[in-house]
Amino acid sequence: MTVTTDTVSRFASSLSGVGVELTRTEAAGFVGALEALVEPPAVGAPLGIDGLSLAEAGINAEPTSGELREAKTGVTRVGKGIASYGTLVLQSDAGGTEPTALYPPRHVGVLCESDVIEDVAAALDWLGDEFADGRDSAVFATGASATADMGELVFGVHGPVDVNVLLVTDR
């Protein structure tokens, strides 16, 4: 699938609108780019992207529950990025993408540029096929967790306060 530069730049501008930091890297510079985004201690869920290793960046991909709880950063794959809203599609899996993206105060999502898609319609189309293949739980996450219930808008409630996307431009 080819992704137009238009879609990627729309994604970038939507991310900035929802307060998510975007970092671009080629696969070759992945480890360094990731290290720069991580506040330790960090935990991760396996990315499943050829040639990208969490271990080389010192990320613990098999954490204990105590380590998950104490982690400052969680690194996961982002299944798709939705350009129209700057939304990250996070699929629940046995590797722990859901709790890893949810518990630590900083979430770093690793996204292949070829996985940036235009809108919610395209994302649900894709997800419909994933559902049919049995990968039938996912979250559309847009920005940091937030509440206005305490009288003003506050970021960082039950989910992360700080979301970063690491976009791998040659994947």
């Binding site: 529950s65 629940s92 859901e98 997800l127 559309f140 509440t147």
Partner: protein, 743 residues
């Protein structure tokens, strides 16, 4: 005579007024600040979202189909959830659901449950049921947590603690938790609640969520939140219980798109919610045991996670069979009807709500799940202004649900002592026992006819001290309101007596001008202005007979009386329509009856014919000018002007026509942006609602007394708006047509 219905009604009205006064004083300002903000954000976001209307139509069609196929979808979801390794229980009612859930908690020896926000679990009072069995329950949505700690009920479908200020929450937390560090800012309060609830979530045995939607084909629960609490409550404990009304089912992920696009925009003016979670449990996510911090995360899947989908009937299958309540089941509980409601904005859900649900749609929910008595408590707060109609993402006719339930409440009343008398005097189609106040306002057409026939005597008598006393005592007409002054010479009298100046029957356009009751008997000048304007623009004008359109009885829930009015109007208009006349109405609420409600009151073809041929007077003038009529024939002074359109006129999309005509005639127009003036026909006259009506009106008056609008002459399209503005702004208010009419 001590049990006379008039006295007990007067007492009830005083109690109701007192209750509204208390809620307004305690919560009104906070509610208004929060809700008016959400409402404006909704307009900002939806106005810029081009496919909004298309998605509304899609969402409506999907819900209609899903409710139609509900039994089949329940079978489908049951198969899907069971295939995934979970269980489905369809509970007949609250007790049945609570029994299933408390039994499950007992089987699992569960000490605590954490919950994400769910109105359906509020509806069944599951917290109380669990607590009665010794199970601790914690609400993890911060607003819901505040309400839980305060031991209050949610004041809004989406923002349960919308009635509380930061300082009130601070005082609440300090009194209840006695925290080590003082809590000063909203960040402090949020951090405190997050840490407190974080511990509860990590320790809980069961996580309970609601569901915004349930996808039948895959057995998927869709949860829409901003805080992340639903995600944590669902993924952290090994057991997940999702509680949802049966109406939450839609066929599959293929139908989800319009709802994802609509729900957050409608609820809070957010383009998309921070988290749209789609879980088909038991999920593969690893299990988390925080009591064993040195152990790796556990395996997930059906052998290690437990999932129960509890689908609730609790009256919904009966609602599905009920022509008037069925639409309620399409509701996605976004709260847009509450946010767009002027009364709700000023009083909130603790007055405008029943046992569980709040806002305009609450009448349907409460009547369906808790019964008519719960709906009767607040149903009158819907004035039928219709501002929620275009706001609802699934196009529910919320005012009609309120009207239909009001009609049932009227019919359910016990016949009282004086009914034989009232039955004889009022020409309506309503049963004995109906509230006298509603009957008075519902029969305004008859009153006005008598009023003009006997003016000025009728005006003196009504305004006299004994007259006002009787009106208040027996009919609940607030003595602080000026009464309309009936004119001896009606518009019809004037029209018949004058020498015609128009272009005659051979004119290109011929109009049957509808003299509504107010224009004919009270605001005669705007009627004359309409005749003169239309004639000056080359239109042949005749008056249709002065008949009540049905609007007045509809506003009181008197549907059969309204139907009979609509019948008379349709018969009177028929010869005009046959002869190719257009129908022009001056009062927007009557035009709205022709265009919106006649479809409910008359055979479809007849209603459609009237709706298609009817125009609001300034809309019609706009059309004439656009089609070459000569504006030079009009007589405007031009200059700065402040304009308040009418709620129902705006819902029909007709505010802009008046602005365009005034602009073209040299006026510099500033238009109000409040949802309603607060008078809303008879509402502001009723003694129990007078103070709320004034409070709502003040929001409008403030707009016209400040900034660029201050000091401008005021025009308003509706009779009620004119009276309200006249009272509050101490200024003569006229109709826009009076500004441009030749003299």
């Amino acid at each position: 005579m001590s049990d006379a219905p008039s006295r007990s009604s007067a007492g009830k009205r005083r109690q109701k007024a007192e209750r509204i006064r208390q809620v307004m004083a305690a919560e009104g300002e906070t509610v208004h600040g929060n809700i008016a903000g959400h409402n404006q954000l909704r307009y900002d976001v939806t106005d810029e979202f081009e496919p909004f209307e298309d998605y509304r139509s899609q969402a409506r069609a999907i819900k209609e189909d899903a409710i139609d196929r509900l039994p089949e979808l329940i079978d489908t979801v049951t198969e899907a959830v069971e295939a995934n390794g979970g269980s489905v229980y369809v509970a007949d009612d609250a007790a049945d659901a609570n029994r299933y859930i408390t039994d499950l908690a007992a089987q699992q020896d569960a000490g605590s449950v954490v919950k994400s926000k769910s109105m359906t679990t509020e509806e069944i009072d599951v917290n109380e049921a669990l607590e009665a069995e010794g199970v601790e329950v914690w609400e993890t949505d911060l607003g819901e947590f505040v309400v839980q700690v305060a031991e209050e009920s949610p004041s809004h479908l989406v923002g349960p603690a919308m009635h509380k200020t930061k300082d009130e929450i601070k005082a609440l937390f300090e009194a209840h938790f006695d925290p080590d560090e003082p809590l000063e800012t909203a960040e402090d309060l949020t951090a405190f609640a997050r840490d407190f609830l974080g511990e509860k979530i990590r320790a809980a045995d069961i996580g309970m969520t609601g569901a915004n939607f349930v996808l039948a084909e895959s057995g998927t629960v869709v949860l829409v939140t901003n805080e992340g609490n639903a995600r944590k409550s669902a993924v952290t404990p090994d057991t997940h219980v999702a509680v949802a009304g049966v109406e939450k089912l839609i066929p599959s992920i293929g139908e989800l798109e319009p709802f994802v696009e609509l729900i957050a925009k409608s609820a809070a003016g957010q383009p998309i919610a921070n988290y749209v979670t789609m879980l088909s449990p038991p999920t593969d996510s690893p299990t988390l045991d925080f009591d064993e911090p040195d152990e790796p995360l556990g395996p997930g899947g059906p052998d290690h996670r437990d999932f129960h989908l509890v689908l609730i009937d609790n009256g919904r299958f009966e609602m599905r069979e009920d022509e008037s309540l069925r639409e309620t089941l399409y509701c996605i509980r976004c709260g847009a009807c509450a946010n767009s409601c002027a009364n709700f904005q000023h009083v909130g859900g603790h007055a405008f709500g029943g046992e569980t649900y709040t806002g305009g749609i609450a009448t349907g929910w409460e009547a369906g799940v808790h019964g008519q008595d719960s709906a009767a408590e607040f149903n009158d707060l819907c004035t039928g202004c219709s501002r929620c109609v275009n706001a609802c993402p699934v196009k529910i006719d919320i005012p009609w649900i309120n009207t239909a339930v009001r009609d049932r409440i009227n019919r359910g009343a016990d016949p009282g002592t004086f009914d034989f008398l009232v039955e004889g005097l009022t020409p309506d189609e309503e049963p004995g026992g109906m509230d006298l106040q509603k009957r008075l306002f519902g029969n305004f057409g008859t009153l006005a006819r008598l009023g003009s026939a006997t003016a000025p005597l009728s005006n003196w008598a009504a305004a006299s001290a004994p007259g006002r006393w009787a009106l208040e005592r027996f009919f609940g007409v607030d003595p602080r309101r000026d009464l309309p002054t009936f004119r001896r010479e009606t518009l019809v009298d004037w029209f018949e007596a004058r020498e015609a100046r128009g272009p005659g029957m051979n004119a290109d356009r011929r109009v049957a001008l509808y003299p509504d009751v107010y224009t004919n008997h009270v605001l005669v000048e705007r009627g004359k202005a309409a005749v003169r304007t239309l004639e000056a623009l080359g239109v042949h004008v005749e008056l249709s007979p002065c008949l009540e359109s049905g609007r007045a009885p509809l506003s009181q829930g008197m549907i059969e009386t309204a139907r009979s009015s609509a019948r008379s109007v349709a018969d009177a208009l028929e010869p005009f329509l046959d002869a190719g006349y257009d129908v022009v109405a001056i009062e927007p609420s009557d035009l709205a009856a022709f265009r919106r409600e006649y479809d409910r009151l008359l055979p479809a073809e007849e209603a459609d014919r009237i709706a298609t041929a009817s125009f609001e007077v300034m809309e019609y003038v706009h059309g004439l000018l656009e089609n070459g009529a000569d504006a030079a024939a009009l007589d405007p002074d031009g200059g700065p002007i402040a304009y308040h359109s009418h709620c129902q006129q705006r819902t029909l999309g007709l505010e802009g026509h008046t602005e365009a005509v005034l602009d073209r005639c040299g006026y510099d127009v500033v238009t109000s942006d409040v949802e309603c003036c607060g008078m809303a026909g008879s509402f502001g006259y009723k003694s129990e609602y007078y103070e709320l009506s004034i409070e709502v009106g003040e929001s409008l008056a403030e707009q016209f007394e400040s900034g660029d609008a201050a000091g401008r002459p005021i025009v308003a399209s509706g009779t009620s708006c004119r009276e309200q503005l006249g009272d509050l702004c101490d200024s003569a208010v006229s109709h826009p047509i009076e500004l441009i009419a030749p003299r």
